[in-house]
Symmetry: C2
């Protein structure tokens, strides 16, 4: 009998804190835990059959990412999505990925370019209705770019920043959008393949500004999820 699992998927063999963190992070980004909702150390602990301690560590990490707000002696709450926070995160991400893609365009490693093209093919083959699958592939694409630039660490930094953007993206990605995003991926890779650093940079900046097009509509259409700011 297998007892290395408890209900919601906390496994032994890895420390508990990071597992709780990832679980809650995903649930917040996918809007299963709604903005404004109250989280309790003890309730989360009980529901996952772990103690409060690792849950607390997860809360701290989530609060550093701005996904929850911890009010001592009062409670912990899922933050509302803040347009300002999304814009701030986007700015940082654009700055980093602009330099990353310049680096890749300078190196022009053919193996990396092949891999990126292969991934674009995969992106096209995924049914556009499967949002989660596309978002995974999109994330992989960007991480692969960073790795190709020899800047995996830069991707780690982006991961700590992008959660705010991901919340919006989860709400906004639709069919038409996916086609457009894949097209932008292609332009980026072609600029890289031709060694044109400036074009690659501009293509990336344009790509990462795509969220700005959908943000206003989402923020007003789903106002209950957003902080008024």
């Amino acid at each position: 009998m297998q007892i290395a699992e408890v209900p919601a998927g906390i496994s032994l063999g890895e420390t508990v804190g990071p597992q709780v963190y990832r679980l809650l992070r995903r649930r917040i980004i996918q809007a299963e835990l709604l903005p404004g909702e109250r989280l309790s150390e003890s309730e989360v602990a009980k529901s996952l059959s772990v103690s409060r301690q690792p849950v607390r560590e997860a809360f701290i990490k989530l609060s550093e990412e701005g996904l929850v707000q911890v009010l001592p002696q009062r409670g912990t709450f899922v933050t509302k999505i803040s347009v300002a926070a999304v814009m701030d995160a986007r700015f940082v991400r654009e700055a980093i990925e602009a330099d990353v893609v310049r680096e890749v365009a300078e190196n022009r490693a053919s193996s990396a370019i092949d891999e990126l093209r292969r991934q674009i093919g995969e992106q096209k083959s995924v049914p556009h209705s499967d949002r989660a699958a596309f978002l995974r592939l999109d994330e992989l694409f960007h991480r692969t770019l960073a790795a190709a630039a020899g800047k995996s660490y830069a991707w780690n930094v982006i991961e700590g920043v992008k959660a705010q953007m991901d919340r919006v993206r989860f709400l906004s990605v639709d069919d038409m959008h996916v086609t457009r995003l894949i097209d932008q991926h292609e332009r980026i890779v072609e600029a890289i393949a031709s060694g044109d650093q400036s074009s690659a940079e501009q293509a990336m900046r344009l790509h990462l500004r795509e969220i700005l097009n959908s943000l206003p509509a989402i923020a007003s259409g789903r106002a209950e999820l957003f902080d008024r700011d």
Copy 2:
């Protein structure tokens, strides 16, 4: 009688974990805690008259910044300075600050420019032998730039990244260097004042590459502090 303080400076009124974190962070950056040195939850807790719990939280945060390495059931150790980690952090910082300074040069807010010039004056007036004072002013200068761009969040991200660089800077800043750095600050501000985004960006990139000049000498001269990589 004042009892809001215990020996090394943990005060009530603020939660303990972050205080322990900042204390240890500073001591690692200033090489009071040496690379390779062993830290123990219980010993640190005892020496600060706090419990192990908040110390553990500090260790987790420090490990996320790469300042310590936590080996479960074995121990926690101050990381050696890694040239690769310094380069990675520098890359990310340059990318972010390049875009920040472009933004400032675009806005050209006169109040911000005045403040930056005032700070440069202050930097010149500090005795060059006082490394810590200059490093504080340097940090303030860069933080002010981010604020002037309306991107205070971007500075938060940089703070989480720059610890690795700060360890090297603490070892490398000397008199000649300080004059040079202040001169670079002036060039940045003048480019901003004239609204020349490209010049401002290039001046900033040059400024942030300064560490590359001192890094090789430090890494070989103080090899015992560095990871062999």
